[in-house]
């Protein structure tokens, strides 16, 4: 979920709560500081404007009449945002699998190249299976796929323990591959522009 939504809604609700308290005092004919009440009103108005902007950004044609309709609308928007987020995760895994398939392993010993290629293939499979699995795929740490092997070969303990840990747990094959691969062993085959 995008963090802006809850904070905007919370801000609106907080300012409205304060305004409501002041109005209740007025309703009971109790004395209130009218300036404070006005400020509370202005804050609430601002929060409402922000919220409307968010909604409008997600669903420009969306309309509502009350808070309930607004809440429904926000839930819809949140669903859409979540779906977008999962697709992004999948696309990242698929893009990394493609990146691994395109590169070449170079080493002085052929056994070692074979061994590393096998490991690459296992990692590609793992990434493709993860991306094809239903539900929300595991989030792959690290930068975009074209820079990913460099970033991963540079990970070292204990500085990058969190990322390494995530790799070891969620992407075991990929972690084996990058653990045996040295940065100079990976050569990305340049696409030849036609």
């Amino acid at each position: 979920m995008i963090p802006l939504w809850p904070s905007t809604i919370a801000s609106l609700d907080d300012s409205l709560n304060q305004l409501s308290e002041s109005l209740e005092k007025l309703k009971a004919a109790k004395p209130v500081n009218i300036t404070e009440v006005t400020d509370q009103l202005k804050t609430a108005v601002e929060s409402a404007r922000n919220l409307r902007a968010l909604v409008s950004a997600e669903m420009p044609e969306a309309t509502w009449q009350d808070r309930a309709e607004l809440d429904v609308l926000i839930a819809e928007i949140q669903k859409r945002i979540e779906a977008r987020h999962i697709e992004g995760l999948r696309a990242r895994l698929t893009a990394l699998a493609a990146e691994l398939e395109r590169g070449t392993i170079v080493h002085r010993r052929a056994v070692r190249v074979t061994q590393l290629n096998q490991m690459r293939d296992a990692a590609v499979k793992e990434l493709r299976s993860q991306a094809a699995a239903p539900g929300k795929p595991q989030a792959l740490p690290g930068p975009d796929p074209d820079e990913w092997l460099d970033w991963a070969c540079g990970l070292q303990e204990p500085d990058d323990t969190e990322s390494l840990q995530t790799l070891r747990k969620e992407f075991v094959r990929l972690d084996d591959f990058v653990a045996n691969l040295e940065p100079n062993m990976w050569v990305v085959k340049k696409e030849i522009l036609v």
């Binding site: 305004l19 007025l26 909604v55 009350d66 808070r67």
Partner: protein, 803 residues
Amino acid sequence: MSSVWPSALGSLDDSLALPFDTVGKLKAAQTVDIDAVVQQLHAAAESGVRLRALISAELPDASWQSRAELHAVIAEIQKLEEARRIEQLRSRLLALATELEGGKIVHRRAARVTELNQLREQAIKELLSQGAIEGTPPILPGPEPDQWVEWACGLQEPEDTESLEILRQRFPQLDDFVTNLEPDMWQPETPPQASVESAEDAEERRKALEQRRSRLLALATELERGSVVHHRVLRVNELNYLRDQAIKELRSQAKLPSGPKPLPGPEADQWIEWACGLREPQDAEALQTLRKAFSRLDDFIANLEPNMWKPAGLPPRTPPDGGRPADKPRQEPPAPATKGVAEYAVAAPPIPINVAGKSSGGRDKAQVQVARAESAVSALEPETVVVPSNGTPSRSDEEIQRMQAREREALARIKSAIPETVRTFDHRIPRSASGKGNRAVAPAIQKERVEPKASPEAPRATAAAAAVVVEPIKAAIPGEAIKKTVIVRAVPDDKPAVAAKAPQAVSATQTEASGTWAEFVSDFKDGGVGALLQDRWRLPVVGVALLVLVLLVLGTVYWVHRSHAGNNAVKAAETSVVTPSNAASTAQPAISTDSAATTAAGKTQADKPKTKDQPKDQSATGKPPEPAPSQAVTQAPALDASLRLPAPVPKAAPPVANKEIAKEEPPAPNGAMGVAGSVPGGLPGGAPSSVINVVKDLSAAEPKPGTQKVTVSSGVAQGLLVHRVAPQYPAQAKQARLQGTVVLQAVIGKDGNVTSVKALKGNPVLTQAAIDAVKQWRYRPYALNGEPVEADTQISVTFTPQQ
């Protein structure tokens, strides 16, 4: 519910509606008009202020936190308002009831008035009952109660159907009344003066009250600072007492929270002079105001003569007769060691009774009577000095005694000479005399009425009781100031009632058979004694002469007999000790100075207060000093047959100083046949003005200072009595229902003890009991010139079974 609360709450809620709606919109992230909301918020705040002010006005201490608590507070206030409203409804009903009650129904027919009054009563009852019911009373339509009847009488159908319907349904009796009432039949009660006065009015009113108070207090101070001047101590005491009462009254009036009543007259320093000058009917209004609002002050002023008052800081006014200032006269002044009857008799320099003082005459008839009575009393009191106002030179004691002896003799002869059959003297005695010397003397004194009671012992006991009114006619004695002298005396049953009248009067009665008194006098004037020897008058004159002779003889016999009996004291006034109860003989007897003889003569003295244990020092008793007529009579033994007790003195108007009696005293001319004003037939050389001289004679008969034993009247003795023991009613007497009066002769020793008692008369069964009681009595020593002396007095003890 009062409309102020919903409107205030509604206003608040209206103002808050938009903000609350805005909150809802904002919650849904809707757009709002923020300016409008802010405006409403301000309005809501103002509404809140107003609402709080309303609540604070009703319940200043009320507090709340929420709208719900606010509603509770408002509900409480509404309850109070409802209670007030109910009370107002009740008040309205009751006010209308009062209005109906105070109004008056007028109609040409009494029956109609009665009928309407009944309806009104019913309506009033209905209103009262409606006003007394629990809960909310019915609402009475119409205006305020003072305009309600007029409004109700003006209701007519169909315009006022609603009000009429309400009246019929809720107040049927009231409706009946106003239906029958026409507007011109109703006279509402005159509304009281506007009670709402402005601050200025209130201030003025306060100042006026303060002025009234100051005025009263100033007059009280003036009265307090001044002094009463009179030649008689008794009178001064009386006036001082009255003055004290007046001062108290003035001060108490000044303290009244509601403010004193307005005092008429000028400022305090001139007030008494002004008040003494008031007379009726000219000053009836001022006098009426005084009597009503300042009764004590009025008493004092009524008794005060201008020349009796000595204001503070001024020299005493010299009474025309040379009156003595008797300032602070509560104590008897010391008797001067001077000669002469007058100087002996009073403890102050002799002062002739003032006759020239301003008379209170015309102001109050009763006061004149009081003055008359006072004249009689003062003439008989021992301390009284009666001297002709023209300054008749005083005689020596011997001379006076001689004259008195002669007078006494003559009186006794006269008394004896009056036959039983003489019941009344001729009223036709001419009241206007020519005033030619002694010939005018007889008609000068008129006997108004002589009704001697027939007695089997006649002629000695000519009458059981009598009342003699001697009224010398002023005109009969030219140059004399005699106005009136009223001397009333009652005598015991066994004493003859003798009128102090001239034999001429008797003769006049006898000559009535052959001619009128006027003719007789006319003949006597014209022809002198010789004319009386005419055939016409010979027989009556001879008869009268014989009668006079017989009476003289009888009188002599009576006098001798009386002297033997030792009863030469006065019987007219007796101190009576009445046993209070025959059943409880130990009860305290009531001592009074009422004359038993007076009672027997039918002369009730209801107005005269009975003197009980009156101390000599009047100021100590707190009661107004009263004259002691019996005291005076006791000291007038020679007058027992001719004097009467003074007329009752009303308590409300104490006797004023007698100034008139002095007018009666003519100068003492030398005449061979006596003096003008003397008793007709008096001896040559008799004292002038026989009655007055008799008084002087009485004074002369008093023991002089230094005498070891003086005779005091029973009244004086009673005033000295400090301890008395009730006589035991003898059982034998009680059983026999025996009653009567025991007259005792007692001697009061210098120490106040009764040293000797002897019975003068009375039933022997009762005598001893009376003696036994009297022996235990204690008196204050009688003082003469400051020295205690023995006092001889008479005490009467009356036993009455019914008491």
